[in-house]
């Protein structure tokens, strides 16, 4: 069965700090890994990673995948209070469209 483990489970940082969120996985016939941000309602899509070593970047957020070691990291630089959310990592096997999610990392950014 596919499995996703995220760490840490929760994190409190000060505005301006840089954070790194971790995601390790086990999946049959890996196809892609996705990161989502969930505030109060719908998870919103951040990144989809399919190849090792290629960094995806969007503003202060970036992510990279290591298919050999089966993990991904999500970096957020110069954090802001608006970054406070649950960050979800999910993997997708090559044989099905479904995503298997981790339990998420709850990030709180304080002033």
């Amino acid at each position: 069965e596919d499995k996703v483990v995220q760490s840490p489970l929760s994190l409190v940082v000060h505005e301006g700090d840089t954070v790194t969120l971790n995601c390790s996985y086990e999946v049959t016939n890996f196809r892609s890994l996705l990161w989502y941000k969930q505030e109060k309602k719908a998870p919103t899509f951040l990144f989809m990673l399919t190849s090792s070593g290629i960094e995806k970047k969007s503003g202060r957020l970036s992510s990279i995948l290591d298919k050999k070691e089966l993990f991904s990291i999500l970096n957020i630089t110069a954090t802001q209070t608006g970054d406070s959310a649950i960050y979800l990592c999910a993997v997708r096997p090559g044989t099905a469209s479904k995503l298997t999610f981790g339990t998420g990392t709850r990030l709180q950014v304080t002033l």
């Binding site: 969930q38 719908a42 899509f45 989809m48 649950i86 469209s97 999610f101 709850r106």
Partner: protein, 114 residues
């Protein structure tokens, strides 16, 4: 314009009742999903439909019955509701079932069974 919309947003009902949640997407996607998120925020797939055909059916009690009248709609009917059904139910869609595109989620329906 809401891409994936679910109704109702909140649903409070008693044990034993039957209820439905509706979902519509205007993205032109072929594939739709139902996910359940428990109190610990863990999102778990329930069903997936591609062009009105069921393609994923996880280990879900048969009290849950999805229906897709067309590829833009996926509804979820739940019979004989139980306390353990209390959760947030998310509808989602993706361009195809091959997995080349991300899922887009609705805002969720918070179901409370008393």
């Amino acid at each position: 314009d809401t891409a994936v919309s679910q109704t109702p947003k909140y649903l409070v009902t008693q044990m034993g009742n039957d209820k439905s949640i509706k979902c519509e997407q205007n993205l032109g996607h072929d594939t739709m999903y139902w996910y359940k998120q428990d109190s610990k925020k863990f999102l778990k797939i329930m069903f997936s439909y591609n062009n009105k055909e069921l393609i994923i059916n996880e280990t879900v009690p048969n009290r849950f019955s999805p229906k897709s009248p067309d590829k833009a709609h996926l509804n979820l009917h739940i019979n004989s509701l139980e306390l353990g059904d209390s959760a947030v139910y998310f509808c989602a869609s993706s361009q195809d079932f091959v997995g080349s595109s991300p899922l887009h989620f609705g805002n969720g329906t918070r179901l409370t069974v008393t």
